[in-house]
Amino acid sequence: MLTGCYVPLKSYRLVPPQCTSEPCLKNPSALVVPTPDPDAAKEFEPVEDSINKARDCVKPDEPICLSFVEVDDMGELWDKAQLDTTLSLIRRANDAAGNDPAKAPIVIVFIHGWKNNAAWGNDNVRGFKSSLQIVYRRNQGTRPVRGIYIGWRGDLIPASIPVARQFSLYNREATAIRIPGATLSSALTQIALRTHENKDALAIFVGHSFGALLLERTLSEMTASQLSVENIAQQEADTATSAGASEDAAAQQLMAKRATASRADLNIFVNSAASATEAKQMLNFLTSSEARYTPFRNPGDKVSADDDRPLYVAVTSTADAATKLALPIGHYLPDVGFKQKGSFRNVSTEKGNEYGLACYDPHPDPHHWTLTSKAEGAQDQSSYYLSSAGHMAVLQSHQMLKAINDKQMKVASTGEVMNVSPQAIAECRKDLFDSSLHIISTFRLYDTHQCFAIQERPKRCNGTPYWLMEIDPDVVPDHSTIFTGRFISFMIDSFFTQPNGRMMNRASPQLTLSAK
């Protein structure tokens, strides 16, 4: 009887839904997303479609397609055919693009979070479809968009039993920790590699809530090893070139290129429900290797502070109660257990037991320093476990500013108010802001045209390509409301776009690590 209280463990995209009008859908794992209205005034008016109107994505030049890859509670694929179909969609889009960079596909992978799955009519499925339409339209409808929805059993208890549903948090968190493994990491690697068979195609991975936890756990280890291979192979290639060993150099360069191609060009975590312990290891790696990511500059170009871009972006709403309140409360008891067993290290300067926080910022001099006491901002390991990375000020690399009147902007994360040039607010242009503010980008809220800016956090400890910031509730109001015109346009304006306003490209996708 109790099983009736659970959302069943099943795949939603293997069996075609009941069809009442021809032509019927044959493969619900690969659908055409309706092309949006070209009228710019209707940019965020999603084109609704229904099961009866759903069409199979079979034509290689279809503008927007959405495919599904589903995994079960143990992280195994429901059917490998779903992944094969997805890879085939990407290959056909690449083939159709030929050598034309303007037609290179944009591949976006989305992993949903808690209380969602890949069911027909699921809010995340509908929202992701609408977001793909916006990305397509923002590219003037020239670049095909391929969306890949990674479905897992994020919804354990139906919405009609709301209290029990809230208590499924622990169970689903454990599942999101369990799923990452060989299956998902190989699937993501194949998706990235297949995408980058076209050197101009973009692969973007996005995770929300527990989906971000799932994505981060899947990516951290493999990205760190890919970056290491990429860097060492490039160094070997340079050594071989200077020694005149051209064959060796070519082989090493190929290895570096493969490593670069096997990761996404941008990884985005939205309202991540992962403990900061997940991000901390990657931040340690990027800090110690002095990583910089400047994809808009060609190799050999002079690089300025403005060229630094993120490989990882974690954005978290200041009004996200799930990660701000539920996560620390939910982790409190396990934290006590860990502490009793002595699992956490405390901030210490004692010889042989040093624990602080290593900082790196490529812009000010010196680039490296270490926070060695709590007074300076260093944290015990327990603190990282009890918070999400996005909410930890000491890990934040950037902050969001919001215009609150004609000459003042407010920092979303701290509430601090600062005076800025009225002209900068009125025109909402990065170049009109005082250069000492280190404004990275600006954007207008889609509907009200309110001006926002992204600023490098002053005195930050984290200057790596793993950007972390809290964002204003006017952009994301809570934990779950992420498929909005406001948020999607913010993401496109801030992270998918180059400083010249054009869509980001892959001029130099290598991440530069220190030669040390």
Binding site: A41, F44, E45, P46, R126, S131, A159, S160, I161, P162, V163, A164, A276, T318, A319, A321, K324, L325, C359, P366, H368, W369, L371, T372, E376, G377, Q379, S383, Y384, L386, S387, H391, M392, A393, V394, A403, I404, N405, D406, G415, P422, Q423, A426, E427, R444, Y446, D447, H449, C451, P458, K459, R460, C461, P473, P477, T481, F483, T484, R486, I488
Partner: protein, 272 residues
């Protein structure tokens, strides 16, 4: 008969609705402001159709008044009543506790059913909307930023009225939260339904209070006591509306207690 009932039910609020008035759309190229009750402005899942459908209404009724939420609520508040010995006619025994829990659960079902029925008849949309997300407020803010943009590009300065429109006025928010409790919107495709008095909510509170009749001892069923029970239940609607309005502040306040990893001090750190 059903149509006549619906007509009567709609005629009364129509008079009130005249005061609320419809909202005008801003001119192109600025997008038309759309905000569904209960949803966030530009929510992609609601902009095409934000009607409060029967399916959603039924789900809200079942989850809020039938399944585990009202049961938990009855168990907790029944325990509170047991502790303060209210009503005194029920002894502090398991039987008394059962009566307290049973009466509360029945009232929850009665309240939900009355809200559901009256709301369905009037086709209302009872979902709360924060002041900052109200279409009229959004339109004013859009107009203010439009004015700033125009002045900015021509090198002028902004007007005081345009600047004022950007502020979130404390009293307006407070008033809006109350207003949202006593009024609801008529369910519309684009969320711009006129405001009508919250008949469904009032009916729900009374329905819930009267649903307790068979449970409570006779002395508790006077109009005064029923009224008290109804107004007590109305408090949950007030709390919900205020939570919707002040959610960011509440989250920040509670979050500050649990916050980890403060901003590093400007002079912090061991430099090499």
């Amino acid at each position: 008969m059903k149509s006549v009932l619906r007509l009567i039910a709609l005629a009364v609020p129509a008079a009130f609705a005249l005061c609320a008035g419809a909202q005008s759309a801003p001119s192109s190229p600025y997008p038309e402001i759309r905000a569904c009750p209960g949803a966030f402005p530009t929510d992609l899942n609601n902009t095409a159709n934000c009607q409060y459908h029967l399916k959603q209404r039924t789900l809200d009724f079942v989850s809020g008044s039938v399944t585990d939420q009202p049961i938990l609520s009855a168990v907790v508040f029944g325990l509170g009543a047991q502790i303060i010995d209210s009503p005194g006619e029920w002894k502090r025994t398991w039987y008394g506790y059962g009566m307290r829990v049973g009466s509360r659960y029945t009232q929850a079902v009665g309240k939900g059913a009355a809200t559901y029925l009256v709301g369905w008849m009037l086709q209302d949309d009872p979902r709360f909307l924060a002041y900052r997300d109200d279409p009229r407020v959004l339109e004013r803010r859009q107009a203010a930023f439009k004015a700033l943009e125009t002045k900015g590009s021509s090198g002028g300065t902004s007007t005081a009225s345009s600047v004022n429109a950007l502020q979130h006025d404390g009293w307006q928010r407070f008033g809006h939260a109350w207003f949202d409790v006593i009024t609801v919107r008529h369910s519309q495709k684009y969320g711009k339904g006129v405001r009508i008095p919250a008949f469904s909510r009032f009916a729900g509170e009374l329905g819930g209070a009267y649903a307790g009749y068979p449970w409570y001892p006779g002395a508790e069923n006077t109009p005064k006591n029923v009224g008290l029970r109804a107004s007590g239940a109305f408090g949950t609607a007030v709390l919900s509306s205020f939570y919707t309005e002040y959610k960011p502040e509440i989250t920040n306040l509670l979050g500050a207690l649990l916050r980890r990893g403060s901003q590093p001090k400007p002079t912090a750190g061991v430099k090499p």
